[in-house]
């Protein structure tokens, strides 16, 4: 379990993280989302004790990491791809970290096998691809068989196989009652991996809720309807103040409607329905709706910052 209490980090007068409070529960995969510069990495660094909070505190399984006797059993972290000395081999990199806690060579070999690095374990890390570097980062995080995993963009650079593998790994971790906290920019990946979502923007908490609720909250549900009687159906739907868009010869997208409404409207004009589906809003849409203003702020920071500060 990870707990952040009023976590705040300022650099000069810039607030990287402001008064952030949340709990990352065990037994779930919790996704951590936010635009670039929203403070995700800073938050993870604060949790790991790499940065000192300006105010508030962060704990892992009830204590700051430094207060744990066996930190590698508490947490495994991957913060940045290839944060590894390029001149060292993968195995030696893992051996060095393992040695700190007297973790056996067998375990080192085990995580090498687990992450599919057997073939390259003796190669120098400088020659690794981004994906290989990620796998090695994950291997290092797994060394102590930790209770909590903290991964910043773990799927970056992974091939489809690797993405599928890490998804299975994280799901498995959560299923065992462990805590998984990960950030990613790949919304489609997050959508199938995470159970719970925490969204931050400009260092502030925007949402902290189960994935399902976050999706339901989004108003951007669309109904797809396919009919040979496109014009008739389109007219009647527009007559009911619904936003209709023709996406193909016989297909309409109706925004902000339910299938019930569209079906009844179709019946009222005897339109034949070939297809009627609700595409629940995607995580990406929900996320974009939530952070639109934040992103605008970031791309137009120069002009807007003083207004926002005022």
């Amino acid at each position: 379990m990870i707990t952040a209490q009023n976590l705040t980090k300022t650099y000069g007068d810039r607030h990287a993280v402001s008064d952030l409070s949340f709990t990352v529960e065990p037994g779930k995969v919790t996704g951590f989302l936010g635009p670039n510069g929203a403070g995700k990495s800073t938050t993870m660094r604060l949790i790991l004790g790499l940065d000192r909070p300006s105010a508030g505190r962060a704990t892992i399984n009830g204590r700051p990491l430094a207060a744990h006797e066996r930190p590698l059993e508490q947490v495994g972290a991957l913060l940045e791809a290839r944060a590894i000395h390029p001149g060292r081999s993968a195995r030696n990199h893992l051996r060095a970290i393992a040695a700190t806690a007297g973790i056996s060579r067998q375990r080192v070999d085990q995580v090498i096998e687990l992450t599919g690095l057997e073939a390259v374990a003796s190669k120098r890390v400088g020659k690794f691809s981004l994906g290989m570097g990620q796998r090695l980062g994950v291997a290092a995080a797994l060394l102590g068989d930790p209770q909590t995993l903290i991964l910043d963009e773990p799927v970056n650079g992974l091939d489809p196989d690797g993405i599928r593998w890490i998804r299975g790994l994280l799901r498995g971790f959560a299923a065992e009652g462990r805590t998984v906290f990960l950030s990613s920019h790949l919304m489609s990946e997050m959508a199938v991996t995470a159970d719970h979502i925490i969204v931050i923007g400009r260092g502030r908490l925007l949402r902290d809720m189960p994935m399902r609720e976050l999706l339901a909250e989004s108003s951007r549900c669309t109904v797809t309807v396919r009919t040979p009687d496109v014009d008739r159906l389109s007219d009647v739907l527009e007559g009911r103040q619904l936003e209709v868009r023709r996406v193909a010869g016989d297909t309409l997208h109706v925004t902000g409607a339910t299938t019930d409404e569209v079906g009844r409207a179709a019946a009222s004009v005897s339109a034949t329905l070939l297809e009627l589906t609700q595409s629940g809003s995607s995580l990406e849409e929900a996320y974009m709706a939530l952070t639109e203003t934040e992103v605008e702020f970031h791309t137009g920071e120069r002009e807007l910052s003083w207004e926002a500060g005022a």
Partner: protein, 271 residues
Amino acid sequence: MTEVTMTPTRTKQVTADPVSLRGAVRAEWIKFVTLRSTVAVLGAAVIVLPLVAVIVAHNTRHLSPTLDLNDVVASAPLQGYYLDQLLIGALGVLFVTSEYSSGMIRATLTAVPKRLPVLWAKLAVFVTVTAIPLVTMTVASFLLAEAYINRYRTGYSLADPGAARVAIGTGIYLVLLGVIGGMIGWIVRSTPGGLVTYLGVILVLPGILGNVVGHWGKYVAEVLPGQAGAAFISIVPEGYSLRPWPGLFVMILWAGLLTAAAAYSLHRRDA
């Protein structure tokens, strides 16, 4: 690759020891010996000593009035230390700053979140891996050179005044320089910044202070770590305001102060 499933039931499959200095030392030892670059630099620093000793011995095997005093005293064969000041200092800087430049420091400090054991462990490993070969080699180089010289004229033995101090001390001086480099590394963190600071403090600053700033500049220059240490490994007292043993004391004091500053920096600052 097929999907991998973790152990289906959560049984503890790994036992980790509590964070300890011993564990940190083991990790730093592995880090030091598994890098080709560190081993190569240390190897070069060690090899330079007997090579220079033999060259100096050969060139000074016959006494002549053209020889400089520094080339005929007991410390003459150990002039390889000039180059080693650079190599060992850089080794010290790099052993620390490579953690920061590669980002490895995050993994290191996640494994040792109390932080300071990492500094003590690096210090212990560095002193061990450099002191043993360097002190052995400075003494061996002295003996080798004097044995060569003895075939032509009377050379020095370790029993001569100051000879043992210089033979052993040159190794110690180099180790202390490496420690100073490492501590600068902890404070500066960047590799180029660390190297420039080290070279500035050890090699450039004394010259500038001594020659440009005037009379008081000379006194300040004499108590900088490089100059104070050089007084310790010199046979010729000229040009040094510190006597040998006070020189060593001042150098150790510098190393101590920098270690304290490095420990404070590591403990307090964001990693």
